[in-house]
Every structure is written in C-alpha cells, then in structure tokens.
C-alpha cells in the first residue's frame, strides 16, 4: 500500500546540507477531500511534491465528492506515485469521518494535517524533521503560518509564540501546520464526532493532556487558502466551529480538573477561561511610596492615598492586607490619610535607606504575610472590582509564578499589555488604543509572556523567594525584567490578562529613565535574551 522511498538520503540535492539521523521520521500527510476548488487542489498537490524531504506518505480520503473530476484526479495521483494512498468513501460522512479514515491509512511515525485547498512550504517537512532531530521524543510540532489568496498572494503572516498553553485555551493558535506523533493520535482516540469545524483543536487539546513535549518551529511552513466560506477569511464564516471549540475547551478543563467557566470574548470568537477559586487565601498588596502628589484627571491627588482608596472602594475580594513601604521623608499627613482610608487593612513600613525600588519591594514582601502578594506602584488606580480574583485564578496553576493585568494610561490608552523584548524590553502596545484587537487577538486573550511590569504584578510568595526576589542590582529600572527572567529560567510561566484592569499614571511618581549602567548590567546577566522574545515576536 504505502511506499517508502528507499535509502537514508531521500532528500533533494538542494537540501543535502541537512544530514538525517539514524532514526528517521516518516510523515503521513492526512487530507480529507471534498469538492476542493480545482486550482487550489492542484496547488496543494504541487506543494506536497515540492517537499525537500521525500520520505512521506499522503493519505487522501475522498468524502464522496459530487464533482466527478475529484475522483478521477485522485485515481491519477494514486497511479502516479506509490506514496499516495487514496480511499473513496461510499457515502459522505463529514470531515471527522474522512479524517479518521485517512488516519487509518497512515503508517508514518508522525501525522501531518493538510487541508485539501492549502499549501505546504517546500521546506515544511524538512524543517519539521530537523525539529524532531533536536528532540527525538517530541510528540507535537507546530509552525508559523500565513494566508494565501486564490491568486497566490501571501498575507497575514502569523508569527506564533513559543508553547503557550494558556493562550491555547483562548483560541487554536497552533492550528496549521500541526504535526503529531501518530501513536499519540491513536492513543487519544483520533478525531471526535461532535466537534466538526474545530475537530483539530479538540484533537490538540486531548494530545496536550498526554504530553508536554511540544516544539514550535518559528517559520512559515503552511499557507492557508482564503476561500469563501472558510474560517481563514473570518471565524464568523463558521460560527458552529466556535461552538465546537468552546465544547472542546470545556472538556479539556474538565479532564484536567480545572473548575472554570468558558465565556465568549465578543465579537471576536475568542474564549475566556474564568477560573473559580478553590481557596480564597489572604493577599498582600505591597505599595512602595514617598507620598508624591500629582494632578490626576485634573485634580491634585496624593498618589498612594488615591491607590489605597481605590483598592478599598472597588476590590470585591475580602481577605487582603495593604503594606505601604514609605520613605522616611513621606509627609506625616499622608500616613494619617492612609490610616483614615484603610483602617482595617493597612500596615506602614518605613524605608530609611537611599532610594532603591527593588529593595523597597523586598522590604514590603518580608513584612507581608500572605502566600500571594501584589507589587503595586502608588501611581495606580483599580478599575476592575474583581482584579484580585482574576489574577489569583491563574496563580492556582502550579507552574504559574506571576500574573499581570492590563494597565491603562489616564486617557484610556494602553500603558502596558505585558512586556515584550522585541527588539528591546518595552511595555507591549504602550500608547495604543485599548479597544484594539491586537495581532491575532493578542490584546483580548490571557496569554503567556516573557514578563509583566512591576507596576502591578501578583506573585506566588514561594516562587519569589526561590529566585531571590527583586534584585538590588537594579535600583530603578529592569528589576521587573530581571525578576521575570529568573522565574522563566526556573520553568515558571508568566501570564498577562486583559480581564483585570487598572490605571497606571505612568512615571507620575518618578521619572521614567533607565541608566546606561543598568542596561549594561541586565545585558551582562541575560545577554541577547534581552533583545528577542519567543512569546512576542512582533514589534
């Protein structure tokens, strides 16, 4: 049935720089076929034949196409190349049944999912093979993708993040190209009925229940054809696919014992996983201050009093303490006012050393008692009443150490949507409208990132102590960047969420300057990682 092109060097001449290891993967390309546009299907065929890596098998299943040319062409292909295996269904069974029939034909070590009107990049299989060579135990590989018009024009390149399980709960960002170990696909029960339109999403969510050996290949290796009626043009072209996606997410959460509701982020067809709190532990909110005053919304305001007052007035979470770390020169009337606005929750700690933001935070932390704490600048103001519940929800995951909210400027524009290090450390989407969707919905979904700003971050106490807290080496800038790198290095995830919002009247309390010395120090510590970001590859 299937043909294995012989020899260990089944690679075309232009790719001979790539030496194949002793254990060589063989790919089974899975393509259910139903009345594809003729030209698009021919392009799809061409793209498979153009593969530099030739050790593949192509499993095509005709789902009783009504266009007689389809069956004829498939028969031709089968005769033309022994690597092509075709099965003709006796009746139309839909994409799930056809895909599962194609899986039954597969003999390869990995299955490659390819739609009948899309194209593979010529290096797709060879790049995936290279990735497998770096980790032969890998179970799931996904790559970047773009879209392609009927005329062959490429657009909407999607530079995907490295493995981001939280983001995957918002939408199937992995999508194309997905390559999965066949044994695992069989093990989880292949594609399932009832998930039509999101059957591949459901499959991936079940696959990741079983493995975390996942690799992202940051190259565009799949071209998704934008044809009328396809979700490549817009998700709302197939609203039933979103219903299936929501069902798949709910089942994934249930399998993983995560008590959460799944809500739709309208009108974007994205999902929000709203975790229920298993416990409601005490939270410490640590606010370093020197009692600065500043005009906010046209009114001269004492920043720290405003921040504490907004916490008291808006926070729905009950069990919290506020630890204000005040410089010795903080005006006494500010401390009096603080005691007035927060009589039940406030503790004041006096900081009597020269200014060092990191040291002030650490002093606040050792004076706090809760297992989770928030580092909060005094030039902030709570917007979302449930901000603590939202942030804490993510910290219930054992490998999440830090969560940051959406921070807005006084005029409602974004101050920080997490950190990005492409091409240098900065607040992502700073100065842009908070109403924007962001690239592929990046501003509307909770997601993994390389860091969040120290202006507001909720942290697991144990993780903070594990990495030595904020580094006194960085008294003014980069202390948050450094802390996040230390946590990432320990294998923790950092989450940014748009569902908790605060104002950050940026640099109202101190000037936003970073010294050349601090930049040199952070670069010495973390090298080129400061200037590139696998979670956020867009600028």
């Amino acid at each position: 049935m299937a043909h294995r092109s012989g020899g260990a060097f089944a690679v075309k001449n232009h790719q001979t720089h790539f030496e194949i290891a002793v254990v060589r993967p063989k790919f089974s390309i899975i393509t259910p076929v139903f009345n594809p546009p003729h030209d698009a299907f021919e392009k799809c065929v061409e793209s498979v034949y153009a593969q530099g890596f030739e050790d593949w098998q192509w499993c095509l299943v005709d789902d009783k196409s009504t266009d007689p040319r389809v069956a004829q062409r498939l028969r031709e292909l089968q005769v033309l190349d022994r690597r092509i295996v075709v099965y003709f269904r006796s009746e139309n069974g839909g994409i799930v049944a056809a895909s599962n029939d194609a899986l039954s034909l597969a003999t390869g070590e990995f299955v490659v999912l390819l739609d009948n009107d899309d194209e593979l990049h010529a290096d797709a299989l060879i790049e995936v093979a290279k990735a497998i060579e770096t980790d032969p135990e890998v179970d799931y590989i996904y790559t970047d993708e773009d879209k392609i018009t009927v005329g062959g024009e490429h657009y909407d390149e999607f530079k995907k993040p490295k493995w981001s399980p939280e983001r995957l709960l918002a939408h199937n960002y992995c999508s194309h190209l997905s390559v999965i170990r066949r044994e695992l696909v069989d093990n989880v029960g292949r594609f399932r009925d009832g998930f039509e339109g999101s059957q591949d999403y459901d499959l991936v969510l079940r696959v990741i229940d079983k493995t975390r050996r996942i690799i992202h290949v940051p190259k565009v290796l799949y071209h998704w054809r934008a044809v009328e009626g396809s979700t490549s043009i817009a998700v709302n072209q197939k609203p039933e696919a979103f219903v299936s996606a929501t069902k798949a997410i709910k089942e994934h959460l249930s399998r993983n014992n995560i008590d959460a509701e799944v809500e739709e982020v309208k009108p974007y067809y994205l999902s929000r996983v709203k975790r229920q709190l298993k416990q409601k532990p005490k939270i410490s909110i640590i606010i370093p201050t020197c009692g600065t005053k500043k005009s906010i919304f046209g009114v001269e305001t004492c920043l720290v009093v405003n921040a504490v007052e907004s916490i008291e007035r808006k926070t729905s979470y009950k069990d919290f303490e506020i630890v204000v770390v005040a410089d010795t020169h903080t005006p006494p009337e500010v401390l009096t006012e603080l005691a007035r606005v927060s009589p039940a929750h406030l503790r004041v700690v006096i900081y009597d050393k020269p200014f060092n933001f990191a040291d002030k935070c650490n002093l606040g932390v050792v004076n706090s008692t809760a297992p989770f704490f928030v580092l909060l600048n005094d030039d902030t103001e709570v917007i979302s009443g449930d901000w603590i519940e939202v942030l804490l929800g993510h910290l219930q995951e054992p490998d999440v150490a830090v969560v940051g909210p959406m921070l807005l400027l006084e005029d409602g524009r974004i101050q920080s949507a997490g950190h990005s290090h492409t091409p240098h450390p900065h607040n992502f989407y700073n100065g842009r409208s908070s109403k924007e969707l962001g690239e592929i919905g990046i501003l509307k979904v909770a997601r993994e990132c390389s860091g969040v700003t120290g202006a507001c971050m909720m942290i697991k106490r144990s993780a903070y102590f594990e990495v030595g807290g904020m580094s006194n080496t960085f008294p003014l800038s980069f202390n948050d960047v450094d802390l996040c790198f230390k946590l990432l290095d320990r294998g923790y995830r950092i989450i940014w969420t748009p569902f908790a919002r605060l104002f950050h009247f940026e640099t109202a309390s101190r000037p936003n300057v970073s010294t050349a010395k601090e930049l040199e120090l952070i670069t010495n510590r973390w090298g080129d990682r400061i200037f590139s970001d696998d979670y956020c590859r867009i600028q």
Binding site: L363, V467, G468, G469, M470, T473, K486, N524, R525, W526
Partner: protein, 133 residues
C-alpha cells in the same frame, strides 16, 4: 484567706504582665531578625542566580569577543592591504608622470630639425637594409 489571697494577687499579675511585655519585646526582636534574615536570603539567592546567569553568558560573550577580535584583525589586514595598494597606486602615478615626461622629450627630439635631417640622410641606408632582409 480571702484577704491574704487578695493581698497576694497583684504580685503575680505584675510579674506576668512584665513577663508578657518582655516576651512581646523578644518576639518583636525575633520577628525583626527573621525579616533581616529573609532580606539577606533574598539577596544571597539573587546574587547566586545573577552570577550563574552571568557565568552562562560568559562563553557567549567570549565567543562574541573572539568574533570581534577576528573581525578587527581582518579589518586591520584589510586596511594594511589598502594602504599598500594606495602606495603602489602613488608609485604608479609617479612612474606615469615620469613616463609622460620622457615621451614628451622623445616627441620633442623627433620633431627637431637635426632628427629629421638625420632620418633623411640615413633613408637610403634603411632602404638597402630592408631589401637585404
């Protein structure tokens, strides 16, 4: 009995109050020490992790430095080569100028009356030479 008891009551109260106060002070001092130790712990861990991160960056920096040295060496060689070429070009230009001057002298000689008379005198001799060849 009750009188005696009433008379002796304040003494233990005062003692326990003093004891409580002393213990409270000790507790506060201990808490203060714990905080200092926690701060020291944070700093030590940060120092260790920071140093480890810097150490892992060292080979990369070394490689970069070596690369820069190589590039610098290459540039130096390149600049020396350019300097040599420039010297040669300057020599060539001098030679060209000399050559030009000599050519002008030759042209001057050829266009002189004595040269032309000499050529005319030697013309028969040149013809005979050509015939003999």
């Amino acid at each position: 009995m009750s009188d005696t008891s009433a008379a002796t009551t304040p003494a233990p109260d005062k003692n326990s109050s003093d004891e409580l106060s002393r213990l409270n002070d000790e507790l506060q001092a201990a808490e203060g020490r714990i905080m200092q130790l926690e701060l020291a712990l944070l700093q030590s861990r940060d120092f260790a992790i920071g140093a480890a991160a810097e150490a892992s960056e060292t080979p990369i920096l070394r490689a970069k430095l070596k690369n820069l040295i190589d590039v610098n060496e290459h540039n130096k060689n390149h600049l020396a080569h350019i300097a040599r070429l420039e010297e040669l070009v300057a020599d060539l230009l001098k030679l060209e100028a000399t050559n030009k001057a000599l050519r002008a002298q030759i042209e001057g000689l050829r266009s002189s009356a004595s040269w032309r008379i000499g050529r005319a005198v030697l013309l028969p001799l040149r013809i005979i030479k050509r015939i003999l060849r």
